[in-house]
Symmetry: C2
Subunit: 303 residues, 2 copies
């Protein structure tokens, strides 16, 4: 399954010209998923030629401006582009009210149905499911209600081992074997064990998005073994006190998190505007977890 990530913004609250505020765009098969939508995100989508007609789902971690001030502009633009397909918007309490009041005063009537789904940021639960993926919330510890999101591809079907496939199988029975179910005789004894006639499926892809939060070990169980972890790393560890005070994570801590969760790859972002050169953050995180990368605006990853 195609699972393509484009990073649209890597900055944090104070604006800098070199980094846009947070937004990640995931293209999974034909569907676009946007995670956070800082000011100017719609321009970033334009800049990187991502087709907003494919955008179906938007997930907002929390209501600090650098994570959602671009949302009302994007929704307005989708409407001007005469969108008619439904759009689903997931975020904390308050988001629906903020969007609705702005549509009201601009006398905007959407041509499409906008579904608001309020997140419960206090616990981890399955927020979303379609034929391709599930999305689970990841509670964050921040100054306002906040949660991250774990995108997980559904398990693939098993593949039939064609060269040894019995010739008397019906189409229904083949489907059962692919689904990991045995084929039975009428007396309920096993006729064909699916393990004997199929090749096990590969593990589904997974992507965890964690921003913004105090270093928070309890989420390790949730993000365990994900292919790619994006974790905020606003500060160098020398500013740990500042990170704690503002409920953020340091590069060292993000690396620790990745190591303890045994993830495949770590991407860090949400960099403080004080860092013009990000290399010290990369050095620091790699000391904890070598397979780490700095997020850059416009960077692409195939998960």
């Amino acid at each position: 399954m195609s699972f393509h990530l484009t990073i649209l913004g890597t900055g944090s609250a104070t604006p800098v010209l070199t980094r846009h505020p947070t937004a990640h765009y995931l293209q999974i098969e034909q569907d676009g998923y946007l995670i956070d939508c800082g000011e100017g995100t719609q321009n970033q989508l334009l800049r990187y030629k991502l087709r907003i007609t494919r955008l179906k789902y938007i997930f907002i971690t929390h209501l600090h401006g650098d994570h959602y001030f671009g949302l009302i502009g994007l929704i307005s633009t989708l409407n001007m582009h005469r969108r008619t397909e439904d759009l689903w918007l997931f975020g904390p309490k308050g988001l629906a009210e903020i969007i609705t009041i702005q549509l009201k005063y601009s006398d905007t009537w959407l041509n499409f149905k906008l579904h608001f789904i309020e997140t419960d940021t206090q616990k981890s639960y399955q927020l979303f499911e379609n034929e391709n993926i599930t999305i689970t919330t990841i509670p964050m510890i921040h100054r306002v209600e906040c949660c991250g999101f774990l995108f997980r591809e559904k398990p693939h079907k098993h593949k039939i081992a064609k060269e040894i496939m019995p010739s008397d199988l019906t189409i229904e029975q083949i489907k059962s074997l692919k689904d990991g179910k045995n084929v039975y005789y009428e007396d309920d004894s096993v006729k064909y064990d699916y393990k004997d006639y199929t090749i096990p499926s590969v593990k589904g892809k997974s992507y965890a998005f964690c921003s913004d939060s105090l270093y928070n070990e309890p989420i390790i169980d949730i993000i365990k073994n994900v292919d790619v972890l994006y974790h905020e790393a606003t500060f160098l560890h020398e500013l740990e006190a500042r990170a704690t005070f503002t409920c953020h994570t340091t590069a060292k801590q993000a690396g620790e998190m990745a190591r303890k969760a045994e993830v495949g790859k770590l991407i860090i972002g949400h960099f403080s505007s004080r860092y013009k050169d990000l290399f010290p953050l990369l050095e620091e995180v790699r000391q904890e977890f070598p397979n780490s990368e700095l997020a850059e605006d416009g960077m692409n990853f195939e998960i």
Copy 2:
């Protein structure tokens, strides 16, 4: 008096990468005045090195997103920069509610006092006055409540003609002559006529900002003879029907307006995203009013 205009955005509702949405920054003496604040305006202020600490007054013409979606981000950033000086925000009904609700959900407590002044967009009246200028509203005809703003430098004092100044004048009497008042004998007959002893003041500078509106001749009396008129010109006149339908002005109409109002210079902006090359708009407007210019992002004018 220094009266410096920087144009921060020249686009209209549909975003394009080459033009930011509407925002004009006026620096008059030590005070910064922002007119409209489309998405990304705070980045434009950064890009053109305009010091946001000087910003004291913000004027929003109407609540379409391309004119104000950047406001909440700018206010948040001013707060992060530890501003303590008051900020005055002028705009139509709804603006205070929109800003307040977003501050509430982000749990933001401003370090500075934010004054909301609701505009009455239906009539022309003096909205603001300080020692340097007056600001008068200009009613626009648009799909939502909308008004433009006329910035007018207060009349200068008359200059004393030193070489012929009578030696018996007191300081109070000199002030009177500068204010354009005569000096009288005790029997109320004129002793010194201010016109004989002073050089008339130069006319105060003026700048009128008109966006967005249907072509609207009744405002000509308000903007008569201004030094610089900014007028929206969203479309070429071949799209007059579209302009009328969407309550916008064509380049030809903007030129007519400038000619009839006998302004010094016309700047047009708020260009539709359909125009990659703006030269046809310039040609069209100059046929009506030769001293016209196209607004460009980052352009500076000394009025």
